[in-house]
Symmetry: C2
């Protein structure tokens, strides 16, 4: 005998398919949703459908947006000659929150990962190369500091260098407020290699 | 300027309203959902709506079910004279998984909590008392071993005792496989008080 009604089981299954949601959490969330007022559940389901329906890639930088061209690419004050390359829209947002970068972005939607079978053609790399045909002075590679992110950074830099456009990589090192004692050796080594004169 | 499209923000907001989902997780889940194929998002939204539409309280024990009367209450083999009182359907399932309890259940949908303003009338207590008018021999109180669960257990036992029905409480003690060293003092004390002769 199934322990829950089929409807509950299906909902638990859907929830457990989300990243970072285990079996127990999925159960808890399912019961929470079932206990919400009907209007709230309808609003939730609608929000999900509306987001899926209306959110698309910006035709220029490929970030997720509900317009043809995203507000950043449309903003006249942004410096179109400096493109920061990030893995996804969340990373773009992280830099955007600093409020200090006035260039534009290019969202790859992934990173090269031979392990996961993700090659250069599976991310928005061709699209980046196309953008370089316009007047671009610098490409700042801000992919993650992971194996995949580093691989992607190396690949992109080799691809761009022959075009004569300047390619830079954001710095690796000890995070601000970080305690040396708890930082891994690779990071410490990177911080040493990347030391700057005071 | 909003960092994300309004559609994404709304979805993040809905997700952050779920229990145990923080702001960062909500963001991650929202982007995961937006990146799912359209059919998957539609299936997810539908599953949610279907569950909400079809799942209701069992008229007898108040567990969540998609029928008038839940399969446990309908089961002829279950002993209707023994009612186990639990706080919610998940707790019912936990006991059901042991496969060793052949009585029926009563789901309170909460516990008395003066702190949260939840009184005896806010849980399915009146409904439990009504069930005692039929031929019931024992009520096993299996509310949680928390302050609220204990308060509820005490309250119910005082309510039922005058009716002459036997009231019991599941045992508190050291969990099986538990290492005494890591068990809190209150539990150790309970285990001592509840010692049984070998």
């Amino acid at each position: 005998m199934d322990l829950y009604s089929g409807y509950i089981n299906k909902l638990i299954e859907e929830l457990a398919g989300l990243p970072g949601i285990g079996a127990k959490s999925a159960q808890r969330l399912a019961f929470h949703i079932i206990n919400l007022p009907k209007e709230r559940v309808e609003r939730f389901a609608n929000t999900m459908l509306e987001a899926k329906r209306n959110v698309r890639y910006c035709k220029c930088c490929f970030t997720l947006t509900d317009q043809e061209i995203c507000p950043i690419c449309l903003n006249e004050k942004r410096d179109r000659k400096t493109i920061m390359v990030v893995e996804n829209t969340r990373d773009l947002t992280a830099y955007e929150k600093t409020g200090k970068f006035d260039g534009v972005y290019h969202v790859l939607h992934g990173a090269i990962s031979p392990m996961l079978g993700i090659g250069p053609n599976d991310i928005k790399l061709k699209e980046l190369m196309q953008r370089l045909q316009e007047d671009v002075e610098e490409v700042i590679i801000a992919t993650n500091s992971s194996l995949e992110g580093e691989t992607t950074a190396m690949y992109i830099s080799k691809l761009i260098k022959p075009t004569g456009v300047k390619v830079t990589r954001i710095a690796s090192g000890v995070p601000v407020g970080g305690d040396l004692e708890y930082i891994d050796e690779v990071t410490l080594l990177r911080a040493l290699e990347g030391r700057v004169e005071l």
